[in-house]
């Protein structure tokens, strides 16, 4: 049988030390706090342990918070209401989000289908490439060409 490395604490000390944190935080009910105070008065070891616990807390000092900027509340309230749904009311619980998403998706799909349909209908009335042929010249232009050819063939005409 091996001996423990250090002697067992008396039951009172073991129980007292398990309660020190809660006592130091003011969380221990009076029915336990009163006997603990009595024990601390009698036991220097537990009292030293409690003092160490208290000392640690004196090192933890709340950092200074920056001052709240002037008009912060009004600005935040304005932002909140500006970003709200029409009617300047808070957003409803997110349970409606899937239904809203479905409606938006269906709307987008319908818009895309309509666009495709419009493009298809628009292209129906236009002529194809093989249908694009030149119209014959009007008769008056043919007569003008004939007059010009006769004039160039006459002896009075000479190119400059």
């Amino acid at each position: 049988m091996t001996r423990p490395e250090r002697p067992e604490l008396p039951l009172a000390c073991a129980r007292a030390r398990a309660l020190l944190n809660r006592y130091g935080d003011g969380e221990l009910e009076e029915s336990l706090a009163a006997p603990l105070r009595g024990h601390l008065l009698e036991c220097p070891d537990c009292r030293a342990m409690f003092a160490a616990e208290r000392n640690l807390r004196r090192w933890i000092v709340r950092p200074e918070a920056p001052a709240v900027p002037a008009g912060f509340a009004e600005r935040v309230a304005a932002l909140a209401f500006a970003g709200a749904v029409p009617g300047a009311r808070p957003q409803p619980a997110p349970s409606n989000e899937p239904a809203l998403r479905l409606v938006l998706w269906l709307t987008a799909a319908a818009a895309a289908a309509l666009l495709l349909l419009a493009l298809a209908l628009g292209s129906l009335g236009r002529p194809g490439g093989e249908e694009l042929v030149a119209e014959p010249l009007p008769e008056v232009l043919q007569q003008l060409d004939q007059i010009e050819r006769e004039f160039q063939a006459s002896p009075a005409w000479s190119p400059r």
Binding site: D25, G26, A52, W59, V61, V68, F72, G83
Partner: protein, 235 residues
């Protein structure tokens, strides 16, 4: 007559009653009511978020985002719980999200794990009290430096307990954990704080010694009518 007058005197509305009234007015579309809610809690949230970051701009961003989130979720708020606890929970989560987004602390160490209470070790009796020559500003800087080394589960309980002075029950409600977990994490957080303090300030740690005042510390309670208000600690 006096007794009659006393029995029929209208009761002063509590801070929690006023919160509920302002929430209802906000839900009815009253922007001024929401501005008043912000005014009531803005300083508290600036102080709370200060425990997570020292950047003034970041603190302002987080607090603003907290209020905007609160506004968007206001319809889901139930008056059975304290409005301040509800708001602080949003602020803590927003602060942690912000830090994660920016790739900084909080360090997370086994977030799902928990630790059992251990008896304080006799081998490490604890730090001496801070030297009286140290200015408060210096102590604040030391606290901040040590806090930044703490993994998240410890940091939040320490901030809420030491800076916000919340009860175990209030911290449990706010972080959605049990009172036993609060006690356990707080115990471990202080042990970590002590270790980090000894590393950061070894020379002060070595030389100083002195007594500490006896007796439990008084704490500030959250305003409101939450289940924590006025109840004794129960484990």
């Amino acid at each position: 007559m006096g007794l009659f007058a006393m029995s029929h005197a209208p009761e002063e509305p509590t801070a929690a009653d006023e919160d509920v009234r302002l929430v209802s007015a906000t839900l009815a579309g009253d922007q001024a009511a929401f501005a008043e809610l912000v005014r009531r809690y803005q300083e508290r949230l600036f102080g709370l978020v200060r425990g997570y970051t020292r950047s003034t701009a970041e603190i302002e961003d987080v607090v603003q985002e907290t209020f905007l989130k609160a506004y968007s979720k206001l319809a889901s708020y139930r008056a059975e719980s304290s409005f301040s606890t509800w708001l602080c929970r949003i602020a803590v989560n927003t602060a942690l999200d912000q830090l994660k987004r920016r790739g900084r602390s909080p360090l997370v160490e086994n977030p799902g794990a928990d630790w059992n209470l251990e008896e304080p070790s006799e081998a490490t009796p604890g730090p001496p009290p801070p030297d009286a020559r140290l200015e408060r500003a210096e102590l604040q800087q030391i606290t901040e430096a040590v806090l930044e080394t703490l993994p998240e589960p410890f940091r939040s309980v320490l901030v809420l307990r030491e800076f916000e002075e919340l009860s175990y029950l209030e911290i449990a409600e706010l972080l959605d954990i049990s009172i036993g977990t609060v006690e356990s994490r707080l115990f471990r957080a202080r042990a970590r704080f002590k270790e980090a303090l000894a590393e950061i300030q070894p020379e002060l740690f070595r030389d100083l010694s002195g007594p500490a005042p006896d007796g439990p510390r008084k704490r500030r309670r959250l305003g409101g009518s939450g289940p924590a208000a006025g109840r004794p600690f129960q484990d």
